[in-house]
Amino acid sequence: MELTILLLIPVAGAVLIGLLPERAEQNARWIALLSAVAALAFSLFLFFDFDSATPGYSYVVKERWVDISSFNLHYHLGVDGISLPLIVLTTCLTLASVLISFSVTKRQRLYYALLLVLAASVLGVFMALDFMLFFMFWELELIPMFLLISIWGSGRKEYSAMKFVLYTIAGSAFMLVAILMLAFADGGSFDLVELGESNVSGALLPLGWVFAFLFVGFAVKLPVFPLHTWLPDAHSDAPTAVSVMLAGVLLKMGGYGIIRMCVTIMPEQAEDFGIWMAGLGAFSILYGAFVTLRQTDFKRLIAYSSVSHMGIVLLGIGALGKTSIMGANYQMLAHGVVTGMLFVMIGLMYDRTHTREIAKLGGLGRQMPLITTGLVFAGFASLGLPALAGFIAEITVFLGAFEKFEWAVLASIFGVVLSAGYILWTLQRVVFGPVKHDWDGVTDQHQWWEHTVAGGMAVLILILGLYPALMMDTMSGSVDQVIARVEEVQS
């Protein structure tokens, strides 16, 4: 029941906005804000109400949905220590996205409605315990994303929006095959709880293939080299709030999917593929960082850095240890707020200068001291400075994965130097150096919502950096269950 309410809060907001008459368009933002705040508050209530000692899923609802012979689908929702932090991340970033959109003036009703539908579909992905329902939410997210990028974006927005959709759908096609294979195999089902407890066998294709198909679907989203090229395009052409949602939560659907589906359902195959996942993760970390160093567009640069940072997630999952998977999940949370904040700061800068070309910017520290402070803060969080969110995640993954794949980790830690390189070099070119008189007219004057978003995200980054036990203790029990599956097949 609780989860249904949480899912319906943004949906209700979207419906209400849809009912607004055109002359009251200005009020769309307030309805969106109200519903985002309500969703955040309710998700926080669930988070603190959640008892991490409970095995399995909490707040479960299960209703019959489709029942035709062996085609049994349910409206089945539930959360555990792995998904609940991601849900809180989603509601936090939804609120941030709504607030940062207050400067949007074009077709506000549609805009906010789509943003809320996007939030609902992502929440659905993190709650669904029926594989088909999961897939439906997974696909549903594409519609608002496509429209948000292609209507409110900039640059080659139609190309980027289309590329994003086609890429995801191509991945989804593999995923759908895998879902059907699993559902109709021996011991198979659409029910993720059942799938996560039974050992599937006798699918149409060898299970290794099924694993690979599922993995491809998630890897596109994460994204993993060589399936990542949609990300820089989508990011650089999306409006600020959509970049925040995209980097902040949509990428995490990929990592979540790998942990919940690939590893939990097919631990044996995960064990076989572990070294490939870790290797691909390490490769993505370095490759992403090297390519980041060449970028000249500020947003594109941060987008490429996401490829590098999400490589850390894959490295952690591939190592299949409790510490490393907890680190991977933590990295998803950390990257969500850190990169979200970076996109917010870039958005604020773009609103004032109307360019993202690094070469054209420069010396902005004088004209925009507050935005600069936020940018430096988020930049250091992104390069993994201790006491901020990214550090805990990275070090936990590195330590956890080092037990198993020493060389992959030793290669990966070079990313730490490269990230310092691209972040600090970018800061040097954008905010430091002599004042450029092109930007004499721009000011740092903030609207209250800009303050709130930047400050709020900074606080989240500090909380994640200083009080890791908050999330780690929540995750611990649920990750234990995943690890128990892996250890079962190892022995």
């Binding site: 109709f184 060589p226 080092f402 203790d473």
Partner: protein
């Protein structure tokens, strides 16, 4: 519950309350918070808050030091769990022992005087509040670093001092040189930090049961249990971190550039405390190094190479502050050399005396800059007459640095030479050569700056609105009392800090931090003392002959060394090799460009290629899409049939 290490060489345990130790760290953090939250707009108060909060830490640090002395150098550890992730369990805790106590006093006392000095030096700067906020944050991080009881926490504060160094080097961020130097400092030290990170990984998987505790690691290393190569790798990882932070060859290139920061910052961070953290780190894990002779050899010779390279560069610098910077690199090299020669106490003793006399020298450089608006010694000269106090204190610092009896530097350098001589005459020879060069370059700077005729300084640029220079460079004068007082106070330890060596209390204190007593027992050796003093006097005399008496023209002297002079002037070509060749050509224009093109034309090219093929194909297939419902219906039915067959095939009834 305090957790005690019974294996300590000392028998008693400090009785200090845990909250005192945390308060030492917390006080500057509170200062930072106050300045950031409220006081950025009220500058005078920002300076006062910094002085007051660091003053609290200073007082408590002395309290802690006396407490440890009372306990004959015992060890006390308080630790708490921070977070757990699977088998990873991370603690935060404080450890007080002789080494920590000495470091606390060094850090807080220099920091306190530097803040006082800064209130004068930074007067009128637009970033006055920001300056003191960063300074407080630095002192907090540095104190956390020396009080940390485990490697994980050391790593955290290690990175945080790097952040503060970055922020303060780039304090005048509108200057391109400052922005570039800040970046260079952070990235270069981070290359060294890779080693520290690798050591952290290694100690977790192959160390003492997943613990990062300093005491446990020391015991583990000395237990004879772990394999030799693990110890060596761990030690080298730790040392790599130290190489970055303490600006050792081959990562020394960032420290001279760091002089772009305000001079009090250079005095505190880039002379007395943070750059000495590498020496502290090696000392903290000294038992690990002792267990690996290979690692010790590396430490000793890297230190030797650093001290010699830096000293040779220092003799050709024309910038007063850069002379100091290379001098710092060189002296840190000597400390490393000492550690590598098993001179644990000598290294820390030199760290201790160096902190005072080098901070003093930097602050006098700041005074000179305050009067002349430049650091270029070619624009100075004759300042002795205008600035007698600055001159006198600068000479005291220089004599101490040159190791002249009976100043502080004499005693600590003498111990290093003694340890080096016992370990390896080659090391001793390098150290002696460096002593000669040191005396020469620092008095060269003294003669160029304070003697002869004044050459006018750097005129104030009326268009530079960022400069807060006050006064007239043509008429240099002593700085205000807020800047003079720290010079006079620092002159005292620069003269007298050597007194500690006489009654052995320092040695007992520092040795007490180790799990067992040291093998080497050093004593005073007349031959070493006399030879080093002779070389020091010789170096000063040579500088006097060339730069004061002009018996030998400096140009012909330089010509005499031919290509060596060019090598020194070009800083041994390290910057050219690293920046122009490795970073710009090999990495950025070569490798990264290759990957970028690959991403654009190969990886994304395939995707777009697939897209094009699909579009072309669908153009052909459009014939099928003819608008006739019957045809669609047929296709639809066929599709359903395929799905049904597929499902039944997979799932025979």
């Amino acid at each position: 519950m305090p957790f005690l290490l019974a294996e300590s060489a000392a028998t008693s345990v400090p009785t200090i309350d845990e909250w005192v130790l945390w308060a030492i760290i917390a006080s500057p953090l509170i200062g930072w918070g106050l300045i950031v939250a409220y006081l950025r707009k009220i500058p005078v108060v920002a300076g006062g808050v910094a002085i007051a909060t660091i003053g609290v830490s200073l007082a408590l640090s002395f309290f802690a030091l006396f407490n440890v002395i009372d306990a004959d150098g015992g060890i006390l550890v308080h630790t708490h769990e921070w977070f757990t992730a699977g088998s990873l369990s991370v603690n935060i805790g404080v450890r007080i022992d002789g080494l920590t106590a000495v470091m606390l006093v060094v850090v807080t006392s220099v920091a306190f005087l530097v803040q006082l000095y800064s209130t004068g030096y930074m007067h009128g700067d637009t970033g006055y509040g920001r300056y003191f906020a960063h300074m407080c944050l630095f002192v907090f991080s540095m104190l956390g670093l020396v009080l940390a009881d485990n490697l994980f926490m050391i790593f955290i504060f290690w990175e945080l001092v790097g952040l503060c160094s970055y922020l303060l080097i780039g304090f005048w961020f509108h200057r391109p040189a400052a922005a570039a130097a800040a970046k260079k400092a952070f990235i270069t030290t981070r290359i060294g930090d890779l080693g520290l990170l690798a050591a952290l990984l290694l100690i977790w998987t192959r160390g003492p049961g997943g613990s990062f505790d300093v005491g446990l690691i020391q015991e583990w290393a000395t237990s004879g249990e772990p394999e030799g190569w693990i110890i060596t790798l761990f030690a080298l990882g730790i040392f790599a971190g130290a190489v970055g932070k303490s600006a050792q060859f081959p990562l020394h290139v960032w420290l001279p550039d760091a002089m772009e920061g305000p001079t009090p910052v250079s005095a505190l961070i880039h002379a007395a405390t943070m750059v000495a953290a590498g020496v502290y780190l090696v000392a903290r894990f000294f038992p690990v190094f002792e267990a690996s002779h290979d690692a010790m050899t590396v430490v000793a010779w890297i230190g030797a190479a650093t001290s010699l390279i830096a000293a040779t560069i220092a003799i050709v610098q024309t910038d007063f502050k850069r002379v100091m910077a290379y001098s710092t690199v060189s002296q840190l090299g000597l400390m490393m050399l000492s550690l590598g020669a098993f001179g644990y106490v000598a290294a820390i003793f030199h760290l201790f005396t160096h902190a005072f006399f080098k901070a003093l020298l930097f602050l006098t450089a700041g005074s000179v800059n305050h009067a002349t608006n430049t650091y270029d010694m070619r624009l100075m000269g004759g300042l002795r007459k205008y600035m007698p106090i600055t001159f006198a204190t600068c000479v005291i610092g220089s004599l101490s640095l040159a190791g002249i009896f009976p100043l502080a530097g004499f005693w600590s350098k003498d111990e290093i030479l003694l340890d080096a001589f016992r370990e390896n005459p080659g090391l001793w020879f390098v150290a002696q050569l460096v002593s000669l060069l040191t005396a020469f370059y620092i008095f060269r700077a003294i003669f160029l700056t304070f003697f002869g005729e004044y050459r006018g300084g750097q005129p104030v640029d009326p268009h530079d609105h960022d400069s807060h220079f006050e006064g007239d460079p043509a008429h240099p004068h002593e700085p205000p009392w807020s800047m003079r007082a720290p010079l006079l106070i620092l002159a005292v330890p620069a003269i007298a800090a050597g007194a500690f060596v006489i009654n052995h209390s320092f040695r007992d204190l520092i040795e007490g931090a180790l799990p067992h007593a040291l093998e080497h027992e050093s004593s005073f050796e007349w031959s070493i003392a006399i030879s080093s003093t002779v070389l020091g006097v010789l170096g000063i005399g040579l500088a006097w002959a060339i730069y004061q008496k002009h018996w030998l023209s400096s140009r012909s002297f330089a010509m005499g060394f031919g290509p060596l002079t060019a090598l020194f002037e070009q800083k041994w070509y390290f910057d050219k090799l690293y920046e122009d060749f490795l970073v710009k050509r090999v990495l950025q224009s070569g490798w990264n460009r290759l990957l970028e093109l690959n991403d654009k034309y190969v990886v994304d090219g395939v995707v777009n290629g697939v897209g094009t093929v699909a579009r072309v194909t669908s153009d052909r297939m459009r014939v099928i899409q003819n608008g006739q419902p019957q045809a669609y219906g047929l296709g639809f039915a066929a599709g359903i049939l395929v799905v049904v067959v597929a499902v039944f095939a997979a799932n025979p009834l």
